[in-house]
């Protein structure tokens, strides 16, 4: 964890030059230096710091050391399209991927000396090494050096001047590499070829403002600007003769002809080529500076031998004052047209020329009582308002008391404002509108007071806007504006306080006011006043001074420090003891500030005057956010995934706010579209959504410094949690179809089954009917009874036996006819009974020869009464007599039973329905696929019945 440490460096107590505020960042432990060699800022806003210990990523609050396997000092960093490339001291080139650094795969020549700088141009990477300039295209490398015609091997820097020309700084001048007719062409810029080149060792080449110029920094000769004329004449313009600040290590051009220069000897210089008369103002940092970076928020970052040093010099400096200065006695300030700063300490008036260097203040005048307000008019006269002693005029060391307006002769002056020769004076007796007719001579034009329509006699501040309208901050009557009539705004227009202390106007002509107890308001230009407290959620502050510079920033001095508002982004920088700046106290005197002719604002603080500078470019101070990782069930997913399965529904998103304007934590708010549509406000840098149901989600995240999300940048991350497959429509449809098919099939099968059963029953009924008919066949009965009658006579015992057999036969028939199948053994018993009865009738004329294995009898089944019917048929249709006996052969195997008899048909046929065999056939067909076959073979009638 880095520890923040602050200290101020004074060049010398006598030189009162403008100083930047300086803040030291230690990368690891406080006071443990880590040598920084390179520094860049990527598009998301992270600052990457290349050090001897590796690459650190900095978000404004903490440094994260990226893991790397190379373990060598980092000597160069470059950013291109969001990718950060790293050069090492042993020639390795790598790229940053999330939290780690991976070396690039290189086929071909690999450098072994430190990479001094890297340039990315489309697909090509150029790196300067001590063995020449190394280029890499699609992982293949080439080295260019003195063998290819360059003036020297040791390449410091590389700069792309145009699509056709590459500049390489070496010990022997600049090598201009270009392709002419597909051949490498090298022009050399050095002291013998170009006039004005003071030094040949070119360590840095900086971006120019136009295509035909660029900056160069040298080892010993300082900074130069090289200009190439239309006739291709090259000339070098030295910025400062007799350079004495050491080797130039980096150049940071920030505006046309303006650049910051950092040197090996520890100086930072603001070079302005357009204003050469101004002597260079070197700021001595005291340690070697390898690289400088202008951050997006306007801070200047220096890579030093100790760590990082941040300078505020682009937007804020201060003039330290030592002699005769104390914040507690300072009562008023102003700045005249010659850029002299006038300030009053009690009754003493001081003048300090703002020359930019060695500002010295001198005492000009001592008033009879404390000075309350100062105003410098167009004639270089100073109007001095005092307590109880009225208004005084100073010009050319002469002072006079203004006596022609009795109302202000012996009273306290609260505020003086002017516009050309109109001078307005506010006193305890209202406001005097006057005209400057001669130096020191005022002509009263109009008196404004409570009675005339202002609403109050006490006006704390008068402000004349650029349209000539006069704004008055009244005590008790809100804000009053006078053009030719009085306009009032008070609580009905949104201003909660009736006491207004301060007024200012920003560069977009918006009026800002500071109130008693109710904070800061700005006017929307129409009718209502907007409270920054309500809008931005800032705490209510007691404002003593409001001032605006000429580039849009509004400076608010209040009891807790100083805020610099950026109205465009609705954010402010806060300066106070807690916030990097050593501001122990600010003035509580109302409306104590000065504004020079350029528009820079001077605000007093404990060490002197802070200078809120006009800003060369529009800095964005609002914090940015970056999603660092997405985790599922706390397991980080390696790559930004946008689709998750239904059971990956515990999503954790970690993010990071990047902010360099305050050390306080960044505030966030997030909204997960598809989950709930409410913003959640938090200071956490992690959010978990457990048990997300399937659907589409968009995570929106915004950050702010002061809980004001009016115009904050937003970052979004969309993802989808997919339906489980068993909830998807196609699956449900499929299941429905399968169920329907199954039901239909079942119903069909059942129908078929029922049909089959009913048919079987029908057949059986038919069969039973037929059979019963057979059983009651009168012939059979007649024959049987005749046989019985004869038996009774012959043998009583046999008759009894016969009768028993007959009744057994009928009983069996009745018992089995209900069943579909019977065991062969059971059927065989019926057949034996039947044969006994028939044999009793026919005697030796009827024979049966059976050959059935016992196990088949026991195991196999057959349609009931089928054997009996077949045998009955045989007896019925054939001659059975003593001369022609009938023998029935029955044999069986595993599958079938065969009944065979010799064909000896009767001449007179017994009446027959012919249904017997057909009926058996049908019944078999219903029960199995096996068929009953019958036919005549070799004059034998053969029936085959399948065994089941």
């Amino acid at each position: 964890m880095c520890k923040l440490f602050f200290f101020l460096l004074f060049c010398s107590p006598l030189a009162e030059a403008q100083q930047p505020f300086v803040h030291e960042y230690w990368l690891n432990e406080y006071n443990t230096p880590v040598k920084v060699n390179a520094i860049i800022q990527d598009i998301t806003g992270y600052i990457f710091v290349g050090t001897d210990a590796g690459v650190y990523r900095f978000n404004g609050r903490s440094f994260v050391l990226l893991s790397d396997s190379i373990c060598k000092p980092v000597t160069a960093l470059v950013e291109n399209n969001g990718k950060v490339y790293v050069g090492y001291s042993n020639g390795i080139i790598a790229e940053v991927d999330n939290d780690s650094v991976h070396r690039l795969r290189i086929y071909g020549y690999v450098p072994a000396t430190p990479v001094h700088s890297i340039l990315i141009d489309g697909d090509v990477l150029f790196a300067t090494t001590e063995e020449g300039i190394f280029s890499l295209f699609q992982n293949r490398s080439i080295l260019l050096n003195s063998e290819n015609g360059m003036s020297d091997d040791f390449a410091y820097c590389v700069y792309k001047r145009s699509t056709k020309q590459l500049l390489v700084g070496t010990d022997k001048g600049i090598n201009c590499l270009s392709l002419v007719n597909n051949k490498l062409h090298i022009d050399i810029i050095n002291s013998s070829t170009v006039a004005g080149m003071v030094d040949n060792i070119v360590t840095v080449i900086g971006r120019g403002n136009f295509a035909n110029d660029f900056w160069i920094g040298t080892q010993n000769g300082g900074v130069m600007k090289v200009v190439i004329s239309k006739k291709n004449k090259i000339s070098a313009i030295s910025a400062i003769k007799n350079w004495e600040w050491g080797q130039v290590n980096d150049i940071l051009p920030y505006a046309e002809n303006k650049a910051w220069v950092a040197t090996e000897d520890g100086y930072i210089l603001n070079i302005d080529l357009s204003n050469k008369t101004l002597p260079a103002q070197p700021y001595y940092l005291g340690k070697s500076i390898k690289k400088i970076l202008l951050g997006k928020t306007g801070n200047i970052w220096c890579a030093t031998t100790d760590g990082l040093t941040m300078l505020t010099t682009q937007f804020l400096t201060y003039i330290p004052l030592f002699k005769n200065y104390s914040l507690g006695t300072l009562t008023s300030m102003t700045c005249d047209k010659e850029n002299n700063l006038w300030y009053a300490q009690r009754n003493k008036l001081y003048k300090m020329p703002l020359k930019g260097i060695n500002e010295q203040s001198e005492i000009i005048y001592s008033a009879a009582s404390d000075i309350t307000s100062l105003y410098a008019d167009t004639l270089s006269g100073i109007w001095i308002g005092t307590i109880d002693n009225g208004l005084w005029y100073w010009k050319d060391n002469k002072t006079e008391h203004v006596e022609n307006i009795p109302r202000i002769e012996k009273t306290s002056i609260l505020s003086i404002a002017g516009n050309k020769d109109n001078i307005w004076i506010s006193s305890l007796n209202g406001v005097e509108q006057t005209k400057l007719i001669a130096p020191g001579k005022l002509q009263l034009i109009q008196h404004h007071s409570k009675r005339s329509g202002v609403g109050s006699d006490y006006i704390y501040q008068l402000h004349i806007d650029r349209f000539g309208e006069v704004w008055m901050a009244t005590d008790g009557a809100g804000i009053c504006m006078y053009d030719t009539v009085y306009h009032h705004w008070d609580s009905s227009n949104g201003i909660q306080s009736k006491v207004i202390y301060s007024i200012t106007e920003d560069v977009d002509t918006n009026i800002w006011i500071g109130t008693l107890d109710k904070g800061l308001y700005f006017f929307d230009g129409k009718s209502s006043w907007i409270s920054t407290h309500k809008k931005a959620g800032t705490p209510l502050i007691n404002i003593s001074t409001l001032a605006a510079n000429n580039t849009g920033q509004v400076i608010v001095v209040h009891q807790k420090g100083i805020d610099e508002w950026y109205p465009l982004s609705h954010e402010f920088r806060h300066f106070g003891k807690r916030f990097l700046m050593p501001i122990d106290s600010v003035s509580t005197v109302l409306n104590c500030f000065a504004k020079d002719t350029a528009g820079n604002v001077y605000i007093p603080f404990n060490l002197g005057f802070m200078v809120f500078k006009n800003q060369d470019s529009r800095y964005d101070i609002s914090p940015t956010v970056c999603i660092r990782s997405v985790s599922v069930f706390l397991q980080q997913i390696p790559e930004m995934q946008h689709s998750f399965s239904y059971n990956q529904n515990n999503i954790t998103i970690a993010y990071d706010g990047i902010n360099y304007t305050s050390t306080d934590p960044v505030h966030y708010r997030y909204l997960l579209e598809g989950y709930n549509n409410k913003w959640t406000y938090t200071d956490d840098e992690l959010v978990t959504f457990p048990q997300l149901s399937p659907g589409k989600y968009t995570f929106n995240l915004e950050s702010s410094l002061n809980k004001n999300y009016f115009k904050s940048s937003r970052i979004s991350y969309s993802f989808v949690i997919t339906m489980p497959f068993w909830k998807s429509i196609w699956f449900l449809l499929l299941v429905a179809i399968v169920i329907i098919v199954l039901v239909i099939t079942y119903i069909r099968l059942r129908e078929r089954q029922l049909k089959k059963i009913s048919q079987l029953q029908k057949e059986r009924m038919l069969y039973e009917y037929e059979h019963l008919k057979t059983q009651v066949n009168p012939h059979f009965l007649f024959n049987s009874l005749n046989t019985l009658a004869s038996l009774i006579e012959e043998d009583r015992d046999a008759a009894i036996d016969y009768t028993t057999q007959l009744s057994d036969l009928y009983r069996h028939m009745l018992a089995y006819r209900e069943r579909d199948l019977v065991l062969l053994a059971e059927e065989w018993e019926i057949l034996l009974g039947y044969m006994y009865i028939q044999q009793s009738r026919f005697g030796k004329a009827l024979h049966m020869q059976a050959n059935i294995p016992a196990d088949i009898l026991r195991t196999k089944k057959i349609v009931p009464l089928s054997l009996q019917i077949v045998v009955e048929n045989a007896i019925k249709h054939n001659i059975v007599s003593a001369s022609v006996p009938l023998t029935i052969y029955i044999s069986a195997d595993e599958n079938e039973i065969v009944i065979k008899n010799h064909l000896q048909p009767k001449i007179s046929k017994e009446r027959s329905s012919g249904l017997g065999l057909e009926n058996i056939k049908k019944r078999y067909r219903l029960l199995s696929r096996k068929d009953v076959t019958y036919g005549i073979k070799n004059n034998d009638f053969i029936i085959t019945l399948p065994l089941l």
Partner: protein, 185 residues
Amino acid sequence: MLKVLYCLLFGCFLLVPGINSAQTIIFELSSSIVSFHSAAPNELVSAASDKMMGILDNKNFFLFKVDILTFKGFNSPVQREHFNENYMETSLYTHASYSGKIIEDVDLVKEGVYDVRAKGKLDIHGIKQEQIIKVHIVSKNGKLAIKSNFKILLADYNIKIPRIVSDKLSPVINVKVDCIMVLKK
């Protein structure tokens, strides 16, 4: 004895890129004082050695070398011991050397006053760093009077200052070299 030294030096020369044994050494060091001082807020430390060796050839390639143990001075013998044992690790890295080339094209045999810059690898504490050093050379009667001041960052050479003595040892060491080289006959 001198021959052995030359052989040793030549061996080093072969490591310097661009130098081959066909080039001739034209100047050799005859007398020298190399001193350093550290100006920390609480203590000034300085030491000097007159045992530097050096050669310069006709292509302006050079090699200077000094045995660390020959530095004398210091505020106390304990300090010298710390210097050799804790900071310089003299048992491991016995010598400091500077080898390279003078960037400017000058003919030092010609009499005159030259302000040139030497660029080469400064090898201290086993770590080689590229360093440019400004040198003031007066060539007269076949003698070169060489004067130079330069700074060394201890961090560059992996010489760590314990926090407890951070106010007694400056992270930047000033080095002063004053030597005479004579034309080899």
